[in-house]
Symmetry: C2
Subunit: 125 residues, 2 copies
């Protein structure tokens, strides 16, 4: 259910963080759904419970989940802006890097078309 890449440069706890968000956006996880426990997640993913705990704490800090001592962790009321800010910043940075290297805007526009058609989403235009 969760895809973790141990070899990535991106820290595991960040991958978990992004993974949860992704599942919420995709609708797999909805408001008040219970997350796997820190220990269960850790066992399933083959990582240390502390690493999962770190991800959960970060998710709670940003208001994406809420944790009840003794009960578990649950999805908070989804707020799309929380999810979108980070990736939009990434997008801007990537686009600026492309501009710096003299890549035409039209080329990037074409890439956008390909991505949004392949993903079968964003056909709201």
């Amino acid at each position: 259910m969760f895809s973790i890449d141990l070899t990535s440069r991106i820290p595991i706890y960040e991958q978990i963080y992004e993974n949860i968000i992704s599942l919420i956006v995709k609708g797999t996880l909805a408001e008040n759904d219970q997350l796997p426990s820190v220990r269960a997640f850790a066992k399933d993913a083959g990582v240390n419970p502390n690493t999962v705990a770190k991800a959960y704490q970060e998710l709670e800090r940003t208001g994406i989940i809420y944790s009840v001592p003794g009960r578990g962790s649950f999805i908070a009321k989804p707020d799309s802006s929380v999810f979108q800010n980070a990736v939009l910043t990434e997008f801007d940075n990537a686009a600026m890097a492309c501009a710096d290297r003299g890549i035409d805007k039209q080329v990037l526009a074409e890439h956008l078309d390909n991505i949004y058609t392949k993903h079968g989403k964003g056909e709201k235009l």
Copy 2:
């Protein structure tokens, strides 16, 4: 002349690598221009010569510069594709992450517009 961020998550040698490419794309560095020596660069940037050497070796490995033993390092014949592949991949990844979070394609298109107008480039359309 070179901007290095010691606090960044990105390794210094990668920053140097990107820095050189950026200067080539911007036209500040042209074919056969000589780069500062490993030791000079290191002193100027306040880093270890080995770190600069690592960046230069990577630049030579990818064909962006060429080094002449005893002479110095020089800009090779620019091949834009070498510069653009990496940033285009980054762009695609960022765009896909946005799509995964349900961001409208049109929103990204607007971001592109802003970036390319602010940068005063890419007005070739």
